[in-house]
Symmetry: D2
Subunit: 119 residues, 4 copies
């Protein structure tokens, strides 16, 4: 069965092919484009308080949704040209985090435990 991410990847392949843009879609360039879109996403949150960021007004939420869409497109395209399965990569990382961050040891502490990451 084809998953929804594979469908997106296929649409992006066709999108690049018919415009002859495959030449620009090197992993290096796509990583930069992803960084650019994440910069736009972060900018949506920069002046919001923690509380405000959790309940954005409808216009702000619409802009965040658009930026999340852009980030997803570049992430899916980058993974596709590299031949990486995003969901498998994410599961592998989450398995590792499950082992690494013992629930009892790290409860309530962000200082020693960057949530969901070893970043």
């Amino acid at each position: 069965m084809t998953t929804e991410l594979e469908q997106l990847a296929e649409r992006l392949r066709a999108f690049a092919r018919v415009r002859d843009w495959e030449q620009f879609h090197t992993p290096k360039n796509l990583a930069m484009a992803l960084a650019g879109e994440v910069g736009e996403l972060v900018a949506e949150f920069q002046w919001l308080t923690a509380e405000e960021s959790g309940s954005p007004d409808p216009d702000a939420l619409a802009r965040m949704r658009t930026e999340l869409g852009d980030v997803t497109l570049y992430l899916v395209r980058l993974a596709d040209v590299l031949g990486v399965d995003l969901v498998e990569a994410a599961r592998a990382k989450l398995d590792e985090n499950d082992r690494r961050y013992d629930a009892d040891l790290y409860r309530g502490s962000a200082r020693k435990a960057p949530p969901t990451s070893n970043g």
Copy 2:
């Protein structure tokens, strides 16, 4: 039917809940964590030529895969706390790009047409 991204989102919810980390997972903080992980991903490509980035050695590819996993985890978690469906948001953006970048008009030109984006 539950999709694979929804399953990831649910695992991340449980991951945060049992560690009492929901308090740290504001959209603002998650957007920053996403930016940090994308920075690590970009760093994997920074000294590679365009060609090298398309055929990374196994060690580099393994590191890229790990970073792609991290980026996916934070992206899924951020979308989840905002109540945004990533795949729908990506499809909506791609629909818009299909209309915006006429295939004949933009063929082969990256200068006027940032591929897959209006960024």
Copy 3:
């Protein structure tokens, strides 16, 4: 008179020259390296509250200082290979912001006025 930024730029030129790294220091690559370092800087702040970020503990402040140093090095190097004077560019942008954000009109409002930027 040589300014302190010009002295830094000259040290970075020599640093690259004696290691034969000028070949890697294209503006494109340096922009990526800058993005990677800014990702590390952002990561230092991601789980801190607004208040905590204003009074980091000595260890955190030392790490922030190190990351700020890295960001400065790549910013100075990137501007140097592009032939851009950073301070002049910053002054020109600040002049524009002074005109754009009328003090009386924008007082106390971040929503309509991204402070110091049109970003």
Copy 4:
């Protein structure tokens, strides 16, 4: 003697004060704003080849200069609210890199030696 970066920092302090924007200028928020601007800067380079990035056309160079100005403003402001001297931080990091990357050992190799950084 007051350096040009100190003069910029002072202008930014006044800029924030007269608009009552100091409340928004927490280190956390400023780090996000810096990341957003660096995203815009990276986007200027994303579809350029390495060669093209070294000789941008006048319009592209003007946009790069504007983005470099924005990045500098936020970097100077962030360092100022944290009480960090950017030039001292950069020199300290460059001293470390001088020791770390032996010129003979790392000559011509980017793979083992991320130029100017331990990032």
